[in-house]
Subunit: 300 residues, 4 copies
């Protein structure tokens, strides 16, 4: 058994050096950060391996957009996220920003000022006008029958900002899945067009075959979950059609005992065949706005 | 200011009496249970008010199915849930059961025995054969173009068990929404039929107009969330098209500071116009398999 | 393997009936409540067994005083708690009450109004005057050399209210331990007397022999923890001098992965010999102001 | 209002650069880390200010000893911790190590092998023999009447390792308080000596006057809490005898709604006068084995 090395902090140290100390301590949260960095580094090198990245939580309002874009550029093969993150990405691509707010602000006052609160990240409600303009402009040029993955690539095609999740997925042809897309600002925009008499048909099930095929065809799969929800579960479901993931990283603040998918440790996936029983995996119990940049800065 | 009444426990007391003591103590978790019971009782009586019920988490594997059915029978006007809960409901409707397992069981052994683990609720993998039979039998009789709500009512129509969430929603014509339906065993069944060359088109956005219309048309809305995820967020989104909910109850184990929708207190919704600023609402921080039956036993 | 029985809620049902449904469901939080009730019922019957009860958290401000008193009257053999709970008990015994407050009240305003906030349980700062009067009156009659357990019984002797934790422990001669007693309002009162030139010597280690002796001499021990902290750890420490506890119940909202004693599952104690490897134990992850009265109402 | 800057990760970046990105993002957990670094940097510079450092949780088994020693060497004026951390510090000073273990190890096996488990940090039970030797050797040279702070300095005097919390506090004459010292391996050692017929009197209340005097005399106070429990509460109590802390940092994984002191946000202290209403403070909701080294590496 290895000793728990007491961590040494050096003035001016690099993130990689800090994380190395965490690896050497090897226990509790720090040990888990260390292990996540080891696994993600291995995934980076293992070119045969396909990386499925699931992203939930208010990650764009939480300042994580560029980290996500980095991951998409450098390594991700399949991306699954929430409609909210894609909407917030589009909002920023259209030139708006999220704002640093006070989590104890008076919500009635904010409502009067038309500011929407996401804990301490504030968003002016006027972004919806910008979104509506965008969709009005592009709508007629959209194919009228698509699946959700195709629809999201179409959106990416019309995004001009280079610094956008939607744009990068389109450019790099990274399949992007978002089963609950109707549950988002983007969903509302489609509703608005339909309400205005326009037609479009976006199939709810059609792209399921795509994610399953990628999982099935791949020799080896890796999973990386930031948060739980649909993004995690949708990838887990696809893993059942593979040999199970060989690598796994999960950043979560939920816990197992309540029984939900978001809090389930990756190990549980072995029973389902979602995780390979010889796979290497780690659950990191930490706010992703802290753990994700920390891990990425050490791996990049 | 009211005093914190020290709770008195009486041998053989009723749940309603226990919850009354919680109301009178008025603080911390017990106080929140008390308040949730008051608000749900009011919702029950306020006939003008439409109740939107969002259900996430492994609630059918967690023994909550009959409580949900009770709520659907007695009061719910709009129901939003996860594909997983509907799949587990269907599994039970087909005659299978979930099993009481050990959360520390060896997942490799379970995998060999073809038992899928949901924390300590186990499910034999053979249920997928039952599901496939069901879908093979009914598939040809399904309309070939539907939205998700229509599709779920169709499923409910073919369920024979009276003790089923899907069945009750169909029978009582309770609109049931599940934007991420592809992310579930039911999704896999549709994938299987499509892979077998069958055709069906289920629209991802079409029923969004229905939930928004109900929210919009209703004089007064109430929200009740068990867990977060898509079910909560999808209802929250619809509330923006109303005067904001006048009543709100949320049972959650998540917390606000990580910024995600699941942990956001109902109050945050005021800034968005999802909660009416004069609304009565309460966040209960407690495992729903404890808090939901406790609250319901006191209200029913 | 037993089936997960879907819980049935009956109008007007008793708490014991509700908890029976939880037992029959057998999974997640509800299953744990069910198991805790089974174990506590067994402890109640097993007269050879000594029950060590550890109580942390703001349980008197949280409305749990009478439940604690019930437990002390009916079954507890050894009691360990925080100085805060004993101070709040004394405050109520002197005629003050805690008040139902707003957790979002302005703390600056409260400070001006001399109201101390414990989340949503408020306490007028004037209680300290009452405490000081009490200690000034009794101080000269106190023995001048004691251990902490003796000191706490002395306090109990001078409490007139029958409805007091300190009083009951004194009357029933239940050993009451509070290693960190200096960390409390009671501690401040002793500091005040010492500052006024009075003398008293209360030994920090002397009563450790008493709790260890009870654990050692007893044929069989049971542990019941509400919260963690010193109360839990102090009992755990004593258990090392026994065969390990044969029964264990823990109500906690903490989690294991951070490594602290408060979140450690009872199972971990087996490695130390604190829990007997044949013992029956359960960890309940739930706010104690909900779970404690619920369990007690079903057992009483 | 400032924009939420999307964090940029640069290959090979320093911890201080990473934390700067967190500061600029300014929201959720990352924003809190950023703010904690700002406040701790200010405390470092503000020489008039006395820093009270409270340390709870399994921080020595968790690899944080050297970070704590750094803080003690560079800035801490008053130190409050648990008996467990001091015992684990002493264990390491005597030449033993904690070991990196598997949190899912079989506790029965560990018990047979005499290994004590602290989540995934393991400790051979033989350390108790080393502790006993140490205490047998030094006991006769100890003063026979002391308060707890004096006792802990005495222990520090007899520790030979330079790399020890107890030693540093003794050498630098940093007052070290541990009200619940009886609740620890060190407590057991004293019990052992008393059981062997030796005499010592260590007063439970006497050093309370010392911590209060430091708080009272100081022009300005700062508080830094790693975890909650007695260390936090004991410092909070002393703050009531000052103008309230002007700076505050709290690293916690607990939450406010359960009402306990460990989860209470620093803001709550304003109502009590523990935090100055003009003070700058931040609550960081993150595993301390991650957040503490991260913050310290950016500040040092």
């Amino acid at each position: 058994m290895k000793k728990v090395k007491q961590m040494d902090i050096i003035k001016g140290m690099k993130v990689s050096e800090l994380v190395n100390e965490m690896s050497l301590s090897g226990v509790m949260g720090a040990g888990r950060i260390g292990k996540a960095v080891e696994i993600l580094s291995e995934i980076k090198k293992d070119k045969k391996c396909k990386l499925f990245f699931g992203l939930a939580g208010a990650m764009v309002p939480g300042g994580m957009k560029n980290v996500v874009i980095d991951l998409l550029k450098e390594r991700v093969d399949v991306f699954v996220t929430t409609g909210a993150n894609l909407t917030h990405d589009l909002v920023e691509a259209l030139g708006y920003s999220h704002l640093q707010g006070d989590p104890e602000a008076d919500d009635k006052e904010l409502h009067k000022k038309k500011i929407d609160r996401i804990y301490d990240s504030f968003m002016p409600n006027e972004v919806y006008e910008g979104l509506e303009d965008f969709f009005m402009k592009i709508f007629d040029s959209l194919p009228k029958e698509m699946n959700i993955r195709e629809f999201l690539w179409e959106l990416g095609k019309h995004v001009k900002s280079k610094n956008s999740i939607l744009r990068i997925c389109y450019e790099k042809k990274i399949p992007i899945f978002c089963p609950a897309i109707a549950d988002s600002g983007i969903g509302l925009m489609i509703w608005g067009r339909l309400a205005a008499g326009k037609k479009i048909r976006i199939d709810a099930f059609d792209d399921l075959k795509e994610i399953i095929k990628i999982a099935w065809d791949s020799e080896k799969n890796a999973i990386f979950y930031v948060g739980g929800g649909v993004p995690k579960n949708y990838i887990q479901q696809a893993m059942q059609f593979s040999k199970g993931a060989f690598y796994g990283i999960q950043l979560t603040t939920d816990r197992p005992e309540y029984g939900g998918s978001s809090g389930a440790p990756l190990k549980e996936g072995i029973s389902w065949g979602k995780m390979n029983e010889k796979g290497r995996y780690i659950d990191v119990y930490c706010d992703a706005t802290i753990s994700l940049p920390l891990i990425w800065a050490a791996v990049k």
